[in-house]
Symmetry: C2
Subunit: 469 residues, 2 copies
C-alpha cells in the first residue's frame, strides 16, 4: 500500500509542505516572468468551481458582469491620491506599443476601480439608473517581490464588483449582502471554510474606504488568510470620479459606492485550510473529481468493472474518473491522495468475485466494503457526509485554536499558534502598534456573537487577532 | 406605435449602422486608451453565452482549461522567427514595474503560443503524456491603429487551444474535430450562422502553420467575417520550443501541435449576421433575455399580470424580463427591438380583460394574440421556430448572395455585393494577387459538397472569394 509519500510534513515546515502540495498535485508552476504563475488544469479546475459558485451568487445578488480594459491611462491614478500611495510601487507600465514609444504610458490595471468609476460617471444620469451593480472577472497585475503561488503573485485572477447607490444605507446594505450571501456563504457551504466575519480596524481599511468587511479563514498552521473583502467607499470615490445623479427633485447628488473582490488566492486558502500530510483534501462540492475508481490490477475484467462503476457513479451525479494507470497501485493511490480526491473506489479481482468494492474516504482514511449495487447511493451519502465533516472539523480546529484573552500581551502569545479573541476596546492605537511590531494584526472586529457589526464604534465588540498570510 | 428608430439604415451606411447598434443596444463603448473596449453588460451577456456553449464543447472534445501568464519574456518571440514577423508591430511592451525600469522588458501576450510551448516541453516526457490538450480563456493585446468595437480592438477576449500529439494524423484529426464539433457546431446550432467551412489558401495561413481551417460567416452587407480558425502546426512549433517525447522504443521524437481560437469578434459577427434596420436580432439560444414582457400601460393590474406572466415563462425555462419601464410604450418597444430580444409580450388592459396577450416576433415582426393560459407553451414553440427561421433565412441569404463564377474577373465582380464560388485551380498565384489588389480574398477552399478538405492539393476543390472584415 501507499508508502509515506514524499511531501514535507506540515509540522516540520508548513511553507515547504504548501510548495510541495502545489507542485505534486500539479496545481501550478512559476511563470517565466518573476512572480507570475501558470495555473495547471487541476488547479484551474478548482478555480472554475469557485467561479461558477460565486458567479451564480453574484447574479442572484443582482449584479451584472461587464468587462473593462486592461490598460488604464496613468493620469487616472493621480485623481485619487490615496490610490497612488496604495499602488504606485506595484504598477506595471507599458511604454512601448504599435512599434513606437507611447506619448502617454499606460498602466496595466492593478484593480479597475478608476476606469469603472469613469464609466459609471458617464452611464449614471438619474436616480432611476441606481443602484448600478457591476462585476468583472479579470486578471490584474501588482508587481510582487516575494511571490508565492496562488497567495501572492504579480498577476492574479479575480472578480471585482463595483456598485453605485443613492444613499449611504443602500451602499452599506449591499456591501453587507455581498459579504454574507456571496462570500461567507461560498466559503462555508462550498469550500467548507468556517471563516470569521467582521470589519477591518480603521487602520487596515482599503485606501479610500470608510468601512471594509472581511472573511478571515484559519489555515492549518494557525495563521489567518484574508479570503474576501467588501468595501464601503462612502462618497470618496464618487467625488474623485464625479459620479453624480439627479435626485427626484432634480438636484445633482454624489453617489455612494462599494467595491468587493475575491481572487485565485482562495485556491491557496483551500489548500491550507484542509490539506494534511498526505496532500490536498478537497471538499466534495469543490472537487473536479469527486470519486476516482482505481483498478488494483491491470486485468481486463477489472478494467471492465471499473468502466461500468464509473458509468453508474456518473449517472448518480458523482464526478468520476477512472485510473487505468501506469505505475504501481501504491504509487497511484499516493498520487490521488495528494490531489485530495474525496472518495477512492478500489476495484480488485477478489472483491469483484464477491460483488463488492472498497471505498476509501480521503478525509479520515476510513475504508468501507460496499456492494457494487449500492455503490452509487452510498457514494452520494459519503460525499455529503464528507462535506459536512470537513466543515465541522475545521470549525472544531478553529475554535480549539482560538483563545479568549484579556491583554495585548496574551493576544501576542496566543497568536504564535492560533487566533486570539480580545475585547476591541482593550487594544487601542498603542496595542495595534505593539501587535504589528511582532507581525501580528487585528484580522477583524466582530460582535460577541460572531456576526459582522456595522461599524467599529458599536459597543462590546471583540477583535480576532492573529498572524496572517 | 414604434416610430422609425434612430438607427442609420444598413443600405445607407453599413459601418455606421453597426456603430449605432453597438452604442444604442448598450453593448460596448470605446475605452480610454486608444483601441481598447468596454464591454457593457448586454454585450458581455452575449459573450458569456458564447463562452458557456463553447466551453462545454471544448471539454467534450477532451481539452482541459489552464491559465498562463499575461507577461511573456521578449526573448520567447525571437525563437520562432515567423512569429516575430507576424506580430512585432502589434506588441505592447512593459518596461517599468515594481518601481523601477525592468532589466528585461516583458511583452503583453498577443497569443500564448510561445509560453504554452515552453511549458508543454516541460510537462511532456513520454508518449503516454500525449495527446496533451489545453485550452485557455484570456485577454490578449495586439495594438490596433484602426480599431472597431468587437471586430478589431487592441485588447480582446478569446479562448486559445494548444495541443500536442504523437503523429501528424492525430494532430490533423484533432484540429478538424475542433473545427467541426466545437466551432462550426456552435456557429450553426447556437448562433444560427451558416458559416462556410474550409481551409485557408497557403498564402493566408497563420505564421508557422502547415494548414489552417476556417469558418467564414456572411455578414448582411455581403462581406465575409473570419469567425474561427484552427491550425495544424506540424512539427514547426515543437522544433522551435523543443517539445519532444519518448516513443515506445525509447527514442526521442518531436511532437505535432495544433492551435485554435475564437474571440469577442464573434459578438460583432452575431450583430452583422442577423441585425436589421431595427437593430440587433438575437437567436433565442444566444439570448440573455428571450422574452420581454412590456406593460402597455403603467396600471397596477397590468403590472401584476406582467409579474405572473414572467413567473410562468420562467417556470417554462424562458429567460424572461419585465419592462415596468419609464418613457412611452413606443419608445420602450423601439429599445427592445434595438436589443434584438426574440419575443416581446405586450400586456394591455383590453387584452387582459379577454385573457390574452399579444406576442411579437423580433425576426419578422409578426404578431400573435395568445391566451395567457397557453403563453408558456406557445413561447417555447415560437422560440424554437425563431431559432430555426434565423438559420434558414441566413442560409437562403448566403446562397442567394453566393455566385458561381468561371474567372477571377467575375469573382471580383461578384465580391462587390456577396461571395463568389470558383474552381480553386482557376485562381493561381497571379489570380490571388489580382484579388488582393482589389481588397478581395480567398476566404476558404472547400470540397464541391461544401465540406472541409484535408489539404489544398485534393482534386476538384472550390474557393469561396469575398471582401472581408
Amino acid at each position: 500500500m501507499a508508502s509515506p509519500n514524499a511531501l514535507t510534513s506540515q509540522t516540520e515546515d508548513f511553507p515547504r509542505w504548501y510548495q510541495d502540495v502545489v507542485a505534486k498535485a500539479e496545481m501550478a508552476d512559476n511563470g517565466p516572468v518573476r512572480g507570475t504563475m501558470v495555473i495547471r488544469p487541476y488547479g484551474y479546475a478548482l478555480w472554475e468551481r469557485i467561479q461558477a459558485e460565486m458567479d451564480a451568487r453574484i447574479k442572484r445578488a443582482g449584479a451584472q458582469n461587464a468587462y473593462f480594459p486592461l490598460f488604464i491611462p496613468q493620469e487616472y491614478f493621480a485623481r485619487e491620491a490615496e490610490h497612488v500611495e496604495g499602488f504606485s510601487p506595484e504598477l506595471a507600465v507599458v511604454t512601448y506599443a504599435g512599434g513606437e514609444e507611447l506619448s502617454e504610458p499606460v498602466v496595466v490595471r492593478p484593480t479597475s476601480e478608476t476606469v469603472i468609476g469613469e464609466f459609471m460617471a458617464k452611464w449614471i444620469q438619474s436616480h432611476r439608473d441606481l443602484p448600478l451593480l457591476l462585476n468583472q472577472w479579470a486578471n490584474v497585475v501588482r508587481w510582487e517581490l516575494r511571490p508565492r503561488l496562488f497567495l501572492r503573485s504579480s498577476e492574479f485572477l479575480w472578480q471585482e464588483g463595483h456598485t453605485a447607490h443613492v444613499s449611504y444605507e443602500d451602499a452599506a446594505a449591499y456591501a453587507m449582502r455581498i459579504h454574507l450571501e456571496v462570500y461567507h456563504d461560498l466559503l462555508v457551504n462550498v469550500m467548507a471554510v468556517p471563516a470569521y466575519v467582521g470589519i477591518k480596524p480603521p487602520s487596515e481599511r482599503f485606501a479610500g474606504a470608510i468601512n471594509s468587511l472581511t472573511c478571515e479563514g484559519m489555515m492549518r498552521d494557525g495563521k489567518a488568510l484574508q479570503m474576501t473583502t467588501s468595501h464601503e467607499l462612502g462618497q470618496n470615490f464618487a467625488r474623485a470620479f464625479n459620479i453624480v445623479y439627479q435626485n427626484e427633485a432634480g438636484q445633482s447628488e454624489l453617489c455612494y459606492t462599494t467595491s468587493w473582490g475575491a481572487s485565485t488566492r482562495l485556491v491557496g486558502g483551500l489548500i491550507m485550510a484542509h490539506g494534511d500530510d498526505r496532500g490536498l483534501v478537497v471538499p466534495p462540492r469543490m472537487a473536479p473529481i469527486q470519486a476516482v475508481v482505481v483498478a488494483v490490477r491491470d486485468e481486463p475484467e477489472v478494467l471492465e468493472a471499473c468502466a461500468s462503476i464509473e458509468a453508474a457513479l456518473r449517472a448518480a451525479g458523482v464526478a468520476t474518473s477512472v485510473d487505468r494507470g501506469r505505475g504501481s497501485f501504491g504509487r497511484r493511490v499516493t498520487d490521488w491522495e495528494i490531489k485530495g480526491v474525496p472518495l477512492r473506489v478500489e476495484v480488485g479481482p477478489r472483491d469483484l468475485a464477491n460483488g463488492v468494492v472498497t471505498v476509501v474516504r480521503r478525509d479520515d482514511g476510513s475504508k468501507l466494503v460496499v456492494s457494487i449495487d449500492q455503490l452509487a447511493a452510498r457514494a452520494t451519502e459519503l460525499l455529503d457526509d464528507l462535506q459536512r465533516a470537513l466543515l465541522e472539523n475545521a470549525r472544531i480546529r478553529r475554535d480549539a485554536a482560538t483563545t479568549d484573552v484579556e491583554t495585548v500581551e496574551q493576544a501576542i502569545e496566543a497568536a504564535q499558534t492560533g487566533f486570539a479573541r480580545i475585547a476591541w476596546d482593550r487594544i487601542g492605537d498603542e496595542g495595534e502598534a505593539r501587535l504589528n511590531d511582532l507581525a501580528v494584526s487585528v484580522r477583524c472586529i466582530q460582535r460577541a456573537d460572531g456576526t459582522t457589526p456595522d461599524n467599529p464604534d458599536e459597543a462590546d465588540l471583540v477583535a480576532i487577532v492573529a498572524k496572517a498570510y
